[in-house]
Each structure stands twice: as C-alpha cells, then as structure tokens.
C-alpha cells in the first residue's frame, strides 16, 4: 500500500471558504503535513494564515525557507514568493522559497509547488485543486499524475470559479473529480490507512 507523505492544495478565487472547511475537518493528529498555495485578490494572503489558524485544528502558518516539513502543520506560501519542496539526498523534506518570475502571471504559483512536490515525493503525494479563475495548477497536476501521485480536483460544476478545475481536468486525467464533501472524506480516509 502506498504511504502518503505530503498533501498539497492549490486554490485561487472562490477558494477561501473551501479551504477553511477542509482545514476544519482535518484532525489535530492528521498524518500528513499540508502545503498550500493560495492566491487571493488584493493581496489578502498576508492575513490568510491567521484567519485559517483560528478555525483549524492543525497549526496554520506561513512557510519559511529551509523549514523542515512536520505533521500537525499547514504551511502557506508567503505572498510574493514561490513555494517549493526540496528533497536533498537523505535530508528531511524542506521548503524553499524563490522570487523567480511569476508563472502564468502569478507568484506564488500552484504549478511550481506541485511540480517540485511531485519530483520530491512521486507516488507519496496527494494533490488537490479547488477553485480559481485562471489555469494555474493544471501543469502541476499533470506532473503529479506523471510521477504517480494521487490527484483530486473539485467538480467544476460545483465551483463558482471553475476555470482552474476545468483546466486541470482538460490537461490530465486525475483520480477524482468530486464534491468538497467527497474530497474531505477522501483526505480523512488517508488518515485511517496510514
């Protein structure tokens, strides 16, 4: 059986209430660290960690360069920086930041997080795409699938901003295209298996 080691989530417009519900549902002892890229309009990202932390059972915070990923934590990409996963030899998984050019006009970019996480974790990765008004995350999801990770996309018919989930589904065949409730129960079932 596959053992998952990391959950990555990407969201943009319309994603805030969705990620809030997911994080409310994940228990304190959730076995995977969670890394999130969220681009919200108007630079609202800076308060996002605090807002989510208030209602989540896991500890939500901004990711820091070279920080080692640990279970019990949800890490957010800092506004204006790409967030990447580094896997160097036997060293534990760690975050890296970059201010390289925006990808698909956004920084942080979901593609950048998903690509680097997929290369670092291959089949031990779960990637979730929620909602957004651009196609960020589609390329990243394709990398996740190519390297054997598990991919879930919110059903575009249930999403207010469906461009993002639609682009991903069009780009690559993912494992689940389902409702938020189903995403949540799938993520919780990881807990039971591990």
């Amino acid at each position: 059986m596959t053992t998952y080691k990391l959950l990555v989530i990407g969201l943009s417009a319309g994603g805030y209430p969705l990620i809030k519900r997911i994080l409310q549902a994940l228990p304190k002892n959730y076995p995977l660290p969670v890394a999130i890229v969220a681009h919200l309009p108007g630079g609202d990202e800076s308060n996002l960690a605090q807002l989510l932390d208030a209602s989540a059972q896991l500890h939500v915070r901004m990711a820091t360069d070279k920080q080692v990923l640990a279970r019990g934590n949800v890490y957010l990409a800092p506004p204006g920086y790409h967030l990447l996963i580094e896997q160097n030899g036997d060293a534990p998984l760690a975050f890296a930041l970059s201010v390289d050019e925006p990808v698909k006009s956004v920084r942080p970019s979901i593609d950048v997080l998903f690509d680097s996480a997929a290369e670092a974790l291959e089949t031990s990765l779960i990637a979730v795409l929620l909602s957004g008004a651009n196609s960020d995350g589609a390329e990243g999801m394709a990398t996740v699938k190519k390297l054997g990770g598990l991919g879930m996309v919110l059903d575009p018919r249930l999403s207010e901003f469906s461009t993002m989930p639609e682009a991903a589904i069009k780009r690559v065949e993912v494992d689940y295209v389902v409702s938020l409730d189903e995403i949540i129960s799938l993520l919780l079932s990881v807990d039971e298996k591990s």
Binding site: T64, D65, K66, L97, S116
Partner: protein, 310 residues
C-alpha cells in the same frame, strides 16, 4: 577517429547492450544528473560555482533554458556553453536571476524610513553594501531613500552582483515605462510623499534614473560564494538572495554579511526571508522588525560570547 554516427560501427557495441543491467531511471531523476553536469561545466570553464545553490528552484530555471534554446535535453547545451561565451552568459543570467522593482514591498521601506535611516544618521560616515543588485531597481531605491532623508551626501552605496551583465544594466539605470504605475504605488506604500516620477527622465521611450542619484553609488562585481568581505559597512541590504542558496552556502554567506557589518549597523533581508534560528546562530544580531526581516548588529558584544573567546 571512429565515425560514431555511422550505425555499422555500432554492431559490436549493440551486442553488449542487451546484457548490460540497465537501471530504470525516471526522467526527472535523469534531469538532476543533467543539472549537475551543467554546473560542473560552468564551474570548470567559467569559474562560477553554483553547486551550493538550492536545487529545486535552480533546476526550474535551468530547465526553462531547454525551451528557450529549443533543445530536448539540458545537456545538449553543454558544448555550446563551453565554446560560446554568449550562450554561457545566457545560462548564467538565468541562474543568477532576480529582477526586482522599485520599493518592492512598500511596508519594508516604511520600516527602513522609520528605523534604519535615523539610525544611520548617527554614524559619521555611511557605507552601505547592497548585495545582489540585479538590474539596479533596489540600488536606486536606496539612493532615493537617502536623498529624501538628507543623507545622500554622507553616504556611499556599494552595490554588487555576481553577474557583470546585470551590473551594466544597473549602471545604465533605464527601464520600460510600463512598470511606472506599480513602482509609484510601491513608493506611496513606503511612505513616499514626493512625485515619484521626478526621479526619472524620459529617454528613447524609456525612463532613466536621474544622474544626481547615481553620484553616491559604486557598482562592483562580487561573488558571495568565493569573495571575501571588502569593506566595513553600516548597512547590509541582501534581499531575496539567501533563499537561492542551500543551507551550507547560506550559513557561510550570512557569516560574511555579518562580519562586514560595523557594530550598531543594520542588516535587511527579503521580507519573507526568515532565516531559521538566525539570532540563535548569530547572537550578535538582534531582530528589529520581523515583518521586514530587519536586524541590527549589537553595539556591545554579549557576555557569553566574550567568555567563549577567553
């Protein structure tokens, strides 16, 4: 010499391939080998050592070159890079990144106006080292800040980069007009009260920084990996450079930066460039502003440190 491209000469070689134990490698792992080979070629041929850079973002930047040069594999660029300095320069440019903007992260420069500039005013001479100047946007941000604080005449900015091509751009100090609205907004967020555009003159459809603002600046080539401290300074500005380095290189560069600071001097990093346990590893540094990642080298050496040396 054996004409390798002629298939008939492969006959005897092919026979062995069948019996060779080939390990299945995924493409992205093989690409990691390509990255290492590129870095080795760059180092041996041009002396630039990027081996200590953080790998994930470095690889992403290098892989983008395969699209730019329209090659299937990164290693196809090695011969071109070895024999053609223009290709090597393109590769080095893509690795040594970062494009910046004027007054990027307005709130940070607000903290600089409130904390650093009044502090610097108390030093008889003000030397500033800005490491990683890129296209010069941030260098001239410093020049504008000093000008507005009335410190420009007493101050000298040493602005360094590893990449001579970037230094030339920074010296020229001209940019496309299309950035102007963003930069003006950044400037306003930094607490700027002047008309931002007055610091530029229009030239050939571009905006160029006024010559007066260049007076206090010296652009120098400096490699944080191999070069040493070159001057004692009262302020080190090194924003979003350390995140490109791996742990070991980051440590050695932080040592270098902190050694070059006079006591009471300031260190400014990128606003999300929180270095894990920085003040524990560098007890001489105290954090002044977490949001801006602004530090100060303590005026007095702390007691435990003195004992360490006894």
């Amino acid at each position: 010499m054996l004409p390798l491209r002629n298939p008939q000469h492969f006959g005897c070689l092919l026979f062995h391939v069948d019996t060779m134990p080939l390990i299945k490698w995924k493409n992205h792992q093989t690409e990691n080998i390509e990255v290492s080979l590129m870095l080795s070629a760059l180092q041996q041929r041009y002396g630039y050592d990027f081996s200590g850079y953080a790998r994930a973002s470095l690889k992403r930047r290098l892989m983008a070159l395969t699209q730019y040069f329209e090659v299937a594999h990164l290693t196809e660029l090695i011969p071109a890079m070895l024999y053609d300095e223009a290709v090597a320069q393109t590769v080095i440019n893509s690795i040594s990144v970062p494009a910046s903007e004027f007054f990027r992260d307005g709130a940070v420069w607000k903290a600089v106006r409130e904390i650093v500039l009044p502090g610097l005013a108390s030093f008889p001479r003000i030397n500033i080292w800005q490491s990683g100047c890129g296209g010069g946007e941030e260098t001239y941000t410093l020049a504008i800040l000093l000008h507005e604080a009335g410190l420009a005449k007493r101050a000298r900015i040493y602005s360094s980069d590893i990449n001579p091509a970037f230094l030339d751009d920074a010296r020229a100090g001209c940019w496309s007009r299309r950035h102007l609205d963003d930069w003006r907004e950044n400037y306003r967020k930094s607490g700027g009260k002047q008309d931002f555009e007055q610091y530029f003159v229009a030239r050939d459809g571009e905006i160029c920084i006024r010559e007066e603002l260049k007076q206090s600046i010296e652009f120098i080539q400096h490699n944080l990996v191999t070069d040493q401290v070159f001057k004692e300074v009262q302020w080190v500005v090194c924003r979003n450079v350390l995140i490109y380095f791996g742990q070991e290189l980051q440590d050695s560069v932080l040592h270098l930066l902190s050694r070059s600071l006079e006591r009471g001097g300031y260190l400014l990093l990128g606003h999300a460039e929180k270095i894990m346990q920085l003040t524990e590893h560098y007890p001489d540094l105290e954090e002044l502003d977490d949001q801006a990642q602004l530090y100060r080298k303590k005026v007095c050496m702390i007691r435990s440190k003195v004992h360490d040396h006894l």
